[in-house]
Symmetry: C2
Subunit: 326 residues, 2 copies
């Protein structure tokens, strides 16, 4: 979700609309709507536009279905919620649904990818809308989830002294995209990176576990790269951070491919997007509990500071975020 | 929502996903998701595509915003729910947001129309997504609402002997569209019909009132015209109906314009879409209670029969539904 600018006007128009106390609107991974009996409903919606977010000939129908579900389920995970239901709207260019690839209709393969990722996380497809499209393919997915009232981990909770952590290796998806744009991947390591780009795994179990660790203060998912995404946590929390680039977790596959191709692995880890790992801040006294909750898979990469701004240590200092636009 | 065909595959894939008892998925106006403490959450989503559902130069930005909210809020009204929150995704062609009309940015006018209709019905915009579009304008809106557990009025509840009723005049919006396609409207009556097309009023208060009348068995909103929409109730309920075309409520404006232009008012009332009145079936013994609940504004137009099929009485017998496609 990123519509803050265009939606500002609504704030003035709808000032008269009363929402339940504790409601979170535009500006975090999900909206949070308090329900009766101690539950909050989480809602997220993401729009995927051909030639902006993906190239139709550059991604298999199955993978596009998978990814359309994954990016939304990841937003629920990013607040520590349990994803529950999905709503899919799709505008199909003429002839696309029935196009055959690998002996399967395009639309069937798309729905198979979408459905398998949903089923993996217990998410039921409960509705949607289809339309013909005069030109490009458009996909909009809404996912609903829930968490105990008041427990959603927002971006605004970071405190000076917190450790900045991630739940897994960074840069794999960005390297996968780079391989796609530069030509076909060849060896096993490169194919692993492609798969990380095409079929991201939303960290639902990790988010649920982290939400139950006292001392985890702020969380979001990494869609644009930590340079950009950590900036959102810092802005929302009114703090700064120092990140040690030498501490960034890098997969063996990323290191091997970067060595072979002369790429800067740290640059990909910092600025490559779409890893869909979780980015969080945790009080130092809770680090061991949080690490244990994830079976060891938690990687401290920096520290929150009272002084604003994002500082890189251990290497270059001018890393930039990634945007989804091609 | 109309995605039953393409989404069938999902039924097989997601058979393993357990949903709460009482959940209603694809195939009605909204999905219904039981919550704790006696409440059901209603969810609906609609996709509006330029050149399929609207012509960008044929509708003012304010009206398009209004209508995008209205068609979804009407789906909540159609089940007797209270609409509560909205999520707006919009993919904008280059330059559109800043295009000026009447001294206002296009996007500001769109958001004003969207926001004013939402505010009128107590709906808060809680999220969304924006993107550039390489070509056409795409809008997807999701609206959430609620109703007491098990009380949502579905399409499947109609019983033989029920009276078929509507909450207001039919055909105005269809006549408005006809005026747009045939050239500018001139007199006051014609402008009224245009306004009915551009700014439909979702029948939220009516839906809430009807849901509380025992004996109201099935309900939906009229988006494609009663010929088509009543067919959905009949299919879902496994019944038939006989409709008296002489009983269809026609506005004075529609009658005047049809007389002046030589149009068939009944044909517009039956097959013109987008009236967004409610279509319901009610036991004869409850008709007076239902009528009273609406302050008299309930119009019986036919009767549900055990024999399947839709029969027209009092005139032509071959009326067809309307499709949204231009």
């Amino acid at each position: 979700m990123s519509a803050t600018g265009e939606f500002e006007l609504i704030g003035r128009i709808s000032a008269a609309v009363k929402v339940p106390q504790g409601t979170v609107g535009i500006g975090d991974d999900c909206a949070v709507i308090p329900q009766a009996e101690g539950l909050d409903t989480l809602v997220t919606t993401d729009l995927l536009v051909e030639d902006r977010h993906f190239l139709l000939d550059g991604i298999a129908a199955y993978d596009l279905g998978w990814k359309s579900a994954a990016v939304n389920i990841s937003d629920i995970a990013a607040m520590g919620g349990r994803p529950e239901s999905a709503f899919l709207s799709i505008a199909l260019p003429s002839g696309l649904a029935d196009r055959e690839a690998g002996g399967e209709r395009w639309m069937d393969a798309f729905m198979r990818g979408f459905g398998e990722l949903c089923a993996k996380h217990g998410v039921a497809l409960l509705g949607g809308d289809t339309s013909a499209s005069p030109d490009k393919l458009f996909i909009n997915v809404t996912v609903l989830g829930s968490c105990p009232h008041g427990s959603a981990l927002q971006r605004s909770g970071a405190s000076p002294g917190d450790l900045v952590c991630v739940t897994g290796p960074l840069g794999d998806s960005g390297a996968g995209l780079k391989l796609i744009l530069e030509g076909a991947a060849s060896d096993t390591d490169e194919k692993t990176l492609l798969s990380r780009h095409y079929r991201p795994e939303p960290r639902v179990a990790e988010g649920l576990a982290l939400r139950q660790v006292p001392g985890v203060h702020a969380m979001m998912d990494i869609s644009d790269g930590i340079a950009s995404d950590l900036g959102h946590i810092l802005d929302a929390s009114g703090v700064g951070a120092a990140v040690d680039t030498a501490a960034l977790p890098l997969s063996p596959e990323l290191q091997a491919v970067c060595q072979a191709r002369g790429w800067d692995a740290v640059e990909l880890a910092v600025g490559g997007g779409e890893d869909y790992e979780l980015l969080l801040t945790v009080a130092p006294s809770s680090l061991s509990a949080a690490t244990e909750a994830l079976g060891g898979k938690l990687f401290p990469i920096g520290v929150i500071t009272a002084e604003p701004g994002l500082r890189w240590e251990g290497g270059k200092t001018d890393y930039k975020g990634f945007t989804h636009s091609l």
